[in-house]
Structure formats: structure tokens, C-alpha cells
Amino acid sequence: MKISIEWLKEYVDIKESPEKLKEDLSMIGLLVEAIADVQGTVVLEVEVTSNRPDCLSHIGMAREIAALYDRPLRYPAIQQNLSISPDRVPYKIEIRDADLCPRYVGLVLDGIRVGASPEWMQRRLEAAGMRPLNNIVDITNYVLLEMGHPLHAFDFDVLRQGKIVVGRAKPGERMRTLDGADRVLDGEMLLINDGGGPVAIAGVMGGLNSEISLSTKRVLLESAYFQPASVRRTSKKLGLSTEASYRFERGADWENTVPAIARTCLLIEQLAGGRIAGSVQDVYPGKKTPVRISLQRKNAAALLGVDLSNAFVESTLKRLGFQLEPKGKDSWDVVCPTYRADMELEADLIEELARFYGYQNIPATLPPGKSVGSPSPVSGIEKAVRAIMTGQGYYEAVNLSFASETDHTEFPPLDGDRIGVRNPLTEDTQYMRTTLAPGLVRSAKRNFNYDQHRVRLFEIGKVYRPGPDGKPSERNTLGILGTGGFVDQNWINPRAEYTFFHMKGVLAALLRGIRIHSFEIESTNAAGWLNPADAAILKIAGETIGVLGALSPGLEEKYKMKQPVYLAELDFERLARHAFAPIQYESLPRYPLVERDLSIVVDRGLAYRAIQKGIAALGIGELTGVDLIDVYEGEKIPSGKVSLTLRLTFQDRERTLTVDRVQGFVDTVLSFLINTYGAGLRST
């Protein structure tokens, strides 16, 4: 709300500088965002919160200033006598739907000479951000900015049958508003009709047909109170927001209707040659009474945590226009001014006391602590996962939770369907993501564009799918991405490129770090956005936890990735359930371990898992570890075959292992491999 200081001074004395006013008003809840100069006029740009429509006018602001500095308030001059006898121009006001329009005040003037409004009025309108049009419209706008009440002026001669009928529209009824647009109305929208049809959308905008033109000679003024929720609903539905609707939807002052019309009448008489032709008609079926609130001083003191005197309570509220009726010791019945649409209960009065006491004057205290804090149940596992992943050199990413149509086609959900947003803002926010993959892939791409080719990211975030009841639900998920060199180019070691096995390695490290002691990786054909060559699923105790693999060649091509990108996605909640196996101490072995390497030549198609499981099934208790330490293909190895070097680790808890015993075990393993897989011992 743009408030001209020069204009304000008509209603209240102001000796403070604009800067001081800005400071003081802000501290009582009327934030002055800026002090502007509009063609030589100093204007305060005030942010008026939606609970204080009474401050959406110069008098409203002047009232606050008068209360703040304890100065008298001067109301503008109004026409005292709004009736003539007899009426030169009889007219009729009829309210059909009093629930939506409890009060309608009308007045007819003739002798109107439509022209430009005087310079002082135009300047004030411009200072407040409104465009001058003609004297009649300008006067109604002026009164709106001055007194805060929206009025409307109709060309009386256009009104059929000289009457106003206030009632709900018929569903599908149409009318053309002042802005030239054709509006389709529904049965809940309140209209101002004349004897033939709609002439205005009540409280929102007037009709094109009845607007004031240069030839207007007679006007009918409307000063009414419309039900806030109704105006708001209509305004939203039509997508039409005006200075009038803005004020009505926040709650206008029904007692301001007559003074506002009286003020308008005076200005029209002074500036546009008008004279009262049809006496004021105050149709007021829905009598509204001021809000009454019980106030107890002890409640105010208790809520704020300060001592308040009765004198302070009484003087503050009186300055603000409240009436106090004492009701026993330290308590009152408070009658709230009708312009205070925000007054409802005692807490509202306590806020008035607080803001005039000064929020800055309330001493800071600490409530006694009676509880012990506790972190959220997921924070333990999240922290652990975050620590392990960052320790492995991954950076934590956060992507938006939304997905576009393209995302869904390229990265179809691994299971279940997607959820659509009913009112997205853009194409990118049409759906909720079902997988973290597209976000991570896009992040990698962005990094490539900035010459970062070694990317390692992880994200802990939600994916969204319909739940078992069909309603939208969310699941916490871990996504991992790795691409590019495993370490930066360096002078010490050759550089390995990120492969499937690096992804598998980081998953293994992660699971170990959260005390999950065994897991399975199985090849899968249901790959979706993964390359079927290495798409795999991760299982823990037989439960599928997630997938891993390279981005499919099709998507790699589409995103022009130029290097393989590896992804993993795990259901975080399932992972968490398996995590943190209880710690069980195992005493340390007293006898040394023995390592023996075995290089065997086997068919390339033999899965390592088979060898692992087969050796384990031999039941050699002293064999505590089997590791694959080398893989060799090439000359010296027949085609279709591969050489694997296994490192066998032996340990006996009871006694030292002899060379003979170890050799015996090695021979057992070797025979097994030879007999089961046709393995050959590699000749050196």
C-alpha cells in the first residue's frame, strides 16, 4: 500500500521524519519496505498483512499513527444531509441474498459534469499508484484510498427500471466487465443487477454497459458490505482481483458504508457539479454487531511474560479505538471497532497490547527444561550412510522431487506407477519422481559440461508412488552415481576408470559400514534404464533391496554422455531394516594364518559365485577366506578360457597349521575345481 505522507497529514499531525515513521510503524507491525519519491511526493510503501484491511487506506494508517503517538485523528468532511424530500429521481434497492450482502447503501446524484478531476486529486491518486480517469471514477478511487471503503458508481440512466437487485447469478449467466472481458458466472457468485440483468459482479468489478462515460448525467452510488468469503471465492474463480475485491475479501467495515457515501457525495458536489437527486437508501437486512471480547489482565500478562497495569491496558486499547466496559477486578468486556476485521478472541487483544508495549521491550527468558531431546529415528542410519559415502569420496546431491513426462518414459519406475500433480506449475513439475536416476544423470551431465568428468554423487531422498491404498506415498531411497576416472590423474599410479565393480565395491563398503554382513548380487534381465550387460540386483537375506549397473546404451547416447555412467538405487527403508547387526565380539586367533595362492584356468562363462559357493560347501573349517586376486586372459591361455588366481587364507584356532595340513586343504580345493569345473592348474 502506497501511503503519501502529505496526504496523511490531513488526518493526523506528523512531525517525524519519513525515516522515523518507517522505523516506528515497522515496530508496531506495519512494515515500511521503502520510502519512495513519486513526482516530488514522499511515499511510504507499507506492507499491510492480510489481517489488517483497516490499514489499506490513508485514514486507516492515520488511525494507527494517531494511536501510536497519542494524537487526535481528523476525519474528512462529509455531506451531513443525504436526504431530500421529495426525491427527484426515485430508485429502488432490493437485496435478494442478504447472506452474501447484509448491507447496501445507495444514493443518486444528478447534474453531473464528467471531466478531469483536479490536479491535487490526480497527484494523490498517482502517488498511491492509481491512474486518474475521470472525476467520478477518480472520486470513488480517492475515497477508497482515503477511507478504505470500495464504492461503485453506475450511470443511472443505463440502469433498467431504475433499480438495483442484489442476488446470486444463474449458473452459466454471462456479463461483460469493465475490462472488456466476457465472464461466465456460476450460481454462487453475487451480482448487482438492474431491472434487466447483471450490471456488476458484486465487490469485484463493474459491468461495461453501466460504466461512467463522458455523457453521464446522473449516477447511482453503491456503498455496500459483501461477505468476505463470497467475494474471495468469486474473485479466485474468475481470476479477477481488484482494489475493491482485495478489501472486501479481507473484511470491510459495514459501519463505514454511510460515511463513505457521504464523503463521495460531498466530493462529487464540489468537483463534478452533482446534487442529491435520490435520497440515501440504507438497506440493511443483516444487522451486524461489533465483536465483544472478554479480557483479563492476568491472561495478557501471563501470555506475554510481562507486568501490565490496568492503566496501560485501558489507555492502549482506547487509543486504538476499542471501548472498555469494566467487569470486575482487572477484567473488561471489550467492544471492538467495526473496522477491525481481525478481532475475534482474547489473544487478538493481547497482540494489540503487545505491539504497543513493544515486542522489543519484552524480556527474553528460557522456559524450564523438562524433557530430554531425541533425534528422529532415521537420523542414525542416514548419518551413517552419509559418513560412509562421503568417506568413499562421494558428494551428496539434492535434486528436485519432480519429474517430467520425458523422465518417466526414459526412466520408467522400477515397480509401481507414478503420481501426477493435479496443478503443476510447469511441464517439469507434472509428476513426482519414481526414481532418483534421472536427477543424478542430469547432474552428471551438468558436471561434464563444466569439464568435471570424474563425478561421484549420492542422494538420499524420496521417491513417490501410489501406496497399497492407491494414495500417493513416499519412500526414502539411496541413489549413487559414479563415472570417470577412479582417482584423479596422478604421477604415482596408473588411473583406473570407474567400472561396475567399483560400484559394487562401494556398495560392499557401505553395507559393511552399517554392519550388514552378507548380501548377494545377481544378474537381472528386468533392467529398465540399465544396460542389460551388467544390470544386477542387490539382495540381503533374500530380500531385493535395489539395483545397480551401467546406464543403458540408449540413454547414454541420448544424453551424449561420452563415457559410461554407473548407477545404483536402493530402497533406504529396507536397507535400514537390515542394518546394524548386533555387535558380537570374537576373540582374536592366537595362531598365525597361512596364505596360499592357486592359479586355475577355467571356462570364461563360469560364474565366480559358483566357485565361491562350491569351495564353501567343501566344509573346510580352517579355510577362512577366498579372494580373487588376479584375472588373466590372453596369450598362454586357450581361447574361451580365463585364468583366475585365488588367494586362500587358512587359520586354525586350536593349533599351528602344518605345511602338510595346508597342502592337504589346497589339494582338496584343487581336486574339487578340477573335477567339477574341468579347471586346469595354470602353468607358469
Binding site: 515496530m27 512494515l31 522456559p367
Partner: protein, 338 residues
């Protein structure tokens, strides 16, 4: 007889001269002195096949040879060991780059989120982990924002259907906490929230918030100020000043806007704080009696305070990040800085 001993001696001296380090020293020692098949040992066995009268001379000559070999080797050992030691102490160029192990780091907003949660846990709060997909009741109605209320305009909302939406703040913690437990209540919730805002330098359709609520007998506005001040000082790690001024939120009354002294100019006035010396940081207030009532709390006996704050906003202020989109680009050059 002496020929073989002399030959052995010459052989030894030749091998001895070629000793270049510990390994070669050991192999020379083993070649000549090994108990099982060292050359000296083997030669000594020949003693039995000699005629009796040649044995004493042979034995003595062999012992002399053996002593000779042992002494030479012993001397050489010291030199070999010293060479080894100085090889180990050979200076390398320590100024060359170290091996590029690089730890990653957590996302700046997640770091702040964790820090904020820890501050609250230490102040006796229970952290609630609430869903992002919320009911209209918890996000609006139970917070005194019925349908069609103008205050809802400020929070343009993403809806799935008539009742399910993406939460626009974490203030629903006030309601969930009141439903979960009886006072005294100290609850906090942080996480992603959503508004139908465009994605530009200062807005994002998704961001992070933290919401706090305290409900008990005798909670005052002074308590709100004190708790808030303690919290803000810890979050910003500095002696910032705080001021409250009246503000409006439907779920609190009295309501307040909270400013902190501008961290860029220590409150002197600069472009970042529009010369005012203050930066608006969060909204707060005393829990509205209707909000208490709607969740079954007796507002004549209990009172409470609540506040809510954008975590991205804190990050922007703390770190001077100039574009909110950077938090969601995941550019490594950005993420690394935290």
C-alpha cells in the same frame, strides 16, 4: 689338497667382491656356510676320504678358511647394513603431490539441517520425521487456515487430490506433536517443503524448512524470545542481535516477524540488508488458541510458541550463496566448497 682349498678361497673372494646388498650378502653366506650344503661344509666332509696323515693339516687349513670367510662376511655385514640404512634415508622430493584420495562431503543444506536438529536435541526437543505428502487438515485447517482463507494465497500449493498435497511448510509438526503427546511438548521437524513458485535465483518449487513448537503451562512470549535468541546465536555462530516486530500468521497470535542483525555489515547498513542493518529471517508467535483447541489441548491451561524458518535462507546468509538454484544443480565445483 691345498689346491681345492685355494680354489674354494678364490671362489669365495670372487663372490665376496660381488656382494652388493643384503640379499647378495645372505646368498653368499648361505652358499658357503649353510649347515646342510654350504660349500665349506661340503668340503669338510671330504675329510673322511683323505688319508689319515693328511687329515690334521686339511682340517686346520679348512678351519682357517672358515674363520677367514666368517670374519670377512662379518665385516662386510656392517658395511652392507650401513648402505641399506643410507638408501632408506635417501631424500625424496616431498614437495610432489600426494596421492589424490579425496573425501566427498555432505550437501550444504543437509549439513545445516543436521546441525539444526542437533541444536534442538541438545535443547531437549524431540525431532519428528514427517511425510512430505501431507493432508490438507494438517497443513492448513488444523493451523487455523480454513479453505478459502486469504492467508492461503501466500502459499500456493501443489495438490494431488482434494485432500492430499505436498506440504508447504513443516508447521504441521505443531499438530502432529499435539496429537502424539500431552504437554510438555518440545518438538521440531525439518525437511523438504513445496510451493508453486517458479524456479529462479531467489525462488524454488522445493526448499527446506525447520519448524519448532513448545507447549506447556506458563509458556510466555518472553520464552519465545529467549529460546529463539539462543538458537539463532548457535546457528550463526556469532553474536548476532535479534529483534521481533509484530507480524501475521494465522496459526499464531501474537505473531511476529524476526530479524537478525545483518551478518554482512554487523548491522551497520549495506546493500545486502537494504541499508537497514536487519535481515528478516523467520516468522514466529504464540500458538493460536484455536490451533491448540483443534488438537485437543486446553488453551486455558496451556500456551505455547512456534516458529518456522527456511534452511536455504540460512545457508544463503551464512555462506553468501547468491542463487538458490545452485543448491539443486549438484555442480561439484559448488558442492566441494562445503
Amino acid at each position: 689338497m691345498n689346491e681345492s682349498i685355494d680354489r674354494l678361497r678364490r671362489l669365495f673372494e670372487e663372490d665376496f667382491s660381488k656382494i652388493s646388498g643384503m640379499e647378495s650378502w645372505k646368498s653368499v653366506r648361505d652358499k658357503y656356510l649353510a649347515r646342510e650344503n654350504g660349500m665349506i661344509t661340503a668340503e669338510l666332509k671330504r675329510l673322511r676320504s683323505l688319508p689319515k696323515e693328511e687329515r690334521p693339516a686339511f682340517g686346520q687349513a679348512m678351519n682357517e678358511l672358515r674363520t677367514f670367510v666368517e670374519e670377512k662376511l662379518q665385516e662386510k655385514l656392517a658395511a652392507v647394513k650401513e648402505d641399506e640404512l643410507s638408501a632408506k634415508q635417501q631424500k625424496i622430493d616431498v614437495t610432489r603431490p600426494g596421492f589424490p584420495l579425496a573425501p566427498g562431503n555432505a550437501h550444504p543444506i543437509k549439513q545445516l539441517q543436521a546441525e539444526i536438529e542437533e541444536i534442538f536435541v541438545s535443547m531437549g526437543f524431540q525431532v519428528f520425521n514427517l511425510p512430505e505428502i501431507e493432508e490438507d487438515y494438517y497443513n492448513f485447517e488444523a493451523l487455523n487456515m480454513p479453505r478459502n482463507h486469504p492467508a492461503r494465497d501466500a502459499q500456493d500449493t501443489f495438490y494431488f487430490d482434494d485432500t492430499k498435497l505436498l506440504r508447504t511448510h513443516c508447521t504441521s509438526v505443531d499438530v502432529h506433536a499435539m496429537e502424539a503427546m500431552k504437554p510438555p511438548i518440545r518438538a521440531v521437524s525439518t525437511g523438504k517443503v513445496y510451493r508453486r513458485d517458479p524456479f529462479d535465483a531467489t525462488h524454488s518449487p522445493m526448499f527446506y524448512q525447520v519448524d519448532v513448537v513448545v507447549i506447556d503451562e506458563g509458556i510466555t512470549m518472553g520464552d519465545l524470545k529467549g529460546t529463539l535468541e539462543a538458537f539463532l546465536k548457535r546457528v550463526f555462530h556469532s553474536d548476532i542481535r535479534m529483534r521481533l516486530r509484530p507480524g501475521f500468521f494465522p496459526f499464531v497470535e501474537p505473531g511476529a516477524e524476526v530479524d537478525i542483525s545483518c551478518i554482512f555489515c554487523s548491522g551497520q547498513g549495506c546493500p545486502k540488508c537494504k541499508q537497514s542493518g536487519w535481515i528478516e529471517i523467520l516468522g514466529a508467535g504464540m500458538v493460536h488458541p484455536k490451533v491448540l483447541q483443534m488438537s485437543g489441548i486446553d488453551d486455558s491451561r496451556y500456551s505455547g510458541f512456534a516458529w518456522g524458518m527456511g534452511i536455504d535462507r540460512v545457508a544463503i546468509l551464512k555462506y553468501g550463496v547468491d542463487d538458490i538454484r545452485l543448491f539443486f544443480d549438484n555442480d561439484l565445483r559448488f558442492l566441494r566448497q562445503f
